[in-house]
Amino acid sequence: MTSKSDGSSFFTMGVDSGSLTGKAVIIDGNKRIVSYSVKQLGFVSQKAVMMAIDDALEKAGLVLDDIAYTVSTGYGRKRLEIAGKNLTEISCHAKGANYLFPEVKTVIDIGGQDSKVIAVDPSGNVKNFAMNDKCAAGTGQFLEVLARALDVELTEIGELSMQSDADIKISSMCTTFAESEVISLVAEGHTTVDILSGMHKAISGRMKGLVGRVGLQKPVMMTGGGAKNIGLVHALEKSLGESIFIPDEPQIIGALGAALFANDFATGNRKKVEEEQDLDKARAPAKDCGTCSVQNYQLNKN
């Protein structure tokens, strides 16, 4: 029998159907991570998502029927039929990051196709966010294209770039043009290591602009596949002048957030939590009393 008070036999799942990878996280009623899985196949691959779900279920020793509620997120969020609700990866990354590190105020998510900067409040709600507009420059896709141009494994580029002291500038804001810029640099005789370092500097410069749009608030956490790239993390820390907290499995933060939302929905806690903390009012100040100085003050304080 399911026991919500105990929590050990009550499960919810979060599924992140990203542009390049599928991720699933299962948590129990006490919001402890029971299992997770990350699978990569192709663009917004349903197969990768199903594989991740099956893998996470298997690791947890569960079947789909054991899952009380599922929330989906990511590019393919609307296509997952088993999900009771879908939410954007922005809300989910904020929630997941806050769960792992409740003090976090800024989340930088570099995913396959998007990069996002999210300002998070102490309850894990999104206060503000900025997202790369149109181009994939500065995203996982960008790194994959350039790693291919340089004939280097994606998993190696971080470590390799750390070996460089050179100051190569890759100016282009566009993935396609950056690729030709990289080819020119190769032709000029620059080493792969130096070019990789320049590439990370270019991305971190771009991310700094995105951070500026939201406003940098410490502490900062980085999530998404991009956080697994140590070279990029270092370049970003240098350009922001701040140390960045990296979770053990940065790729599952969105799915973790989705699993936490699933728990909230399944237990009916979501609204209750907000009412208790009076956050709803603070986030929608114009609803009833736009002139209320108290809530405006709260917002400015946050």
Binding site: Y75, L87, T88, E89, I90, S91, D114, N125, V126, K127, N128, F129, M131, N132, D133, K134, R283, A284, P285, A286, K287, D288, G290, T291, Q295, N296, L299, N300
Partner: protein, 384 residues
């Protein structure tokens, strides 16, 4: 002819007119043998053109990709100007007899020049609308109107009497009043009409004879009023701002609503900005039209008018409160300089007032709908 239709059916008809915006004008030309003048968005005294017995239509941005027009106008200029240049280059504006350009932004001036060259058989006119709001501004605008009146009279081969202008003002005022009534209904019952419906109403008004549009609205309005009590209201209340010259894309408007929001008000050019107030009927007509340009800018400030006495950011803060809106969504046409110039002030004003806002910079080619969808949904989730 619309009497037996339901409100949804009427709205569908208006959506069809809006989707193919020049078709009714072409028919009208065949029926009447009269002339059509295309107004190159945004501020034109349509009443004055109407008084000459011609049909003024506001040229519309088409959603199709720009192809032939690339040869005549650079890709880093705004979508609305590029789209109209493209239409002219493709021969789609050959049905026009006259064309009026304006100088409210550098891209519009350039675009009007190019269109003039591309349409050599079309009478190319210019409306000089001085900016600002100083002691001399009203008089200056009247002079601009007189210059245009002189050109229109030559074009239409007839003199325009004050009585004729006043009559046109009455017809246009009626149209604005009717649309404002619909706006009032929608602000109280936002789900009564989708924002795409509102767009169809305004857009169709810009491209067919106003007399016809008035008739349609007079039929539509009571039907909408009758429906209002059956509508369930739910969703995050959003105010839409921006989108000068060109209509915001239906896709974007639909995404706003699909994200869980209802649109409770707007200051779009293809929206409240177009009908925000009437021209006074008890004054010398050209003086009344000139005063209208100054007054309507007080109602809904326009960044191209450079009016030091108006404050667009503050207007937005006030509107959010007036319409009890939770969030502001700003739709900015990519490369729209007047809008870009004001955005930092709007951002500051919103932050100071504690109003969440989302800026969507929309390119004509709409290259990344998925990103826009995620941003809109995340924004609405912030308020749920």
């Amino acid at each position: 002819m619309y009497q037996n239709l339901s409100s949804d059916e009427i709205l569908n008809k208006l959506a069809q007119i809006a989707a193919d915006p020049y078709e009714r004008a072409k028919e009208w030309k065949m029926e009447t043998g009269s002339k059509i003048i295309g107004c190159y968005i945004m501020h034109f005294p349509e009443e004055l053109l109407h008084a000459a017995g011609v049909l003024p239509i506001v040229l519309q941005v088409k959603e199709e990709p720009i192809t032939t027009g690339h040869a005549y106008y650079p890709s880093y200029f705004c979508g609305p100007t590029r789209s109209i240049v493209d239409q002219a280059a493709k021969g789609e504006l050959d049905f026009l007899d006259g064309f009026v350009g304006g100088d409210y932004c550098i891209q519009a001036v350039g675009g009007a020049e190019v269109v003039g060259n591309l349409l050599p058989k079309v009478n190319n006119m210019f409306f000089r609308l001085p900016v600002g709001n100083q002691a001399w501004t009203h008089g200056d605008i009247v002079t601009g109107l007189k210059e245009l009146k002189r050109d229109i009279e030559r074009f239409a081969a007839k003199e325009i009497s004050d009585e004729e202008i006043l009559n046109s003002i009455r017809i246009y005022n009626k149209n604005r009043s009717l649309i404002r009534e619909i706006y009032e209904l929608k602000s109280v019952h936002p789900s009564l009409l989708s924002s795409s419906d509102m767009l169809s109403i305004i857009k169709s008004s810009m491209v067919i004879p106003k007399e016809e549009h008035n008739e349609i609205l007079e039929t539509l309005l009571p039907k909408l009023q009758a429906n209002k009590d059956s509508i369930k209201e739910e969703g995050v209340r959003v105010f839409l701002s921006g989108s000068f010259c060109g209509a915001p894309k239906n896709e974007i408007l639909e995404l706003v609503e699909q994200s869980g929001a209802v649109v409770v008000g707007d200051d779009l050019f293809h929206g409240y900005r177009y009908i925000s107030d009437n021209i006074t009927e008890d004054r010398e007509p050209l003086a009344a039209i000139a005063a209208h340009y100054i007054d309507k800018n007080t109602n809904v400030p326009c960044p191209t008018r450079c009016d030091p006495k108006t404050d667009w950011p503050q207007y937005l803060v006030d509107s959010m409160r007036k319409y009890k809106a939770d969030q502001l969504v700003i739709v900015m046409a990519q490369f729209c300089e007047p809008h870009m110039f004001f955005y930092p002030d709007i951002k500051d004003a919103m932050q100071e007032a504690g109003i969440p806002h989302l800026l969507l910079e929309i390119s004509h080619e709409l290259d990344s709908i998925e990103t826009i969808k995620t941003r809109l949904e995340a924004f609405v989730e912030m308020a749920v």
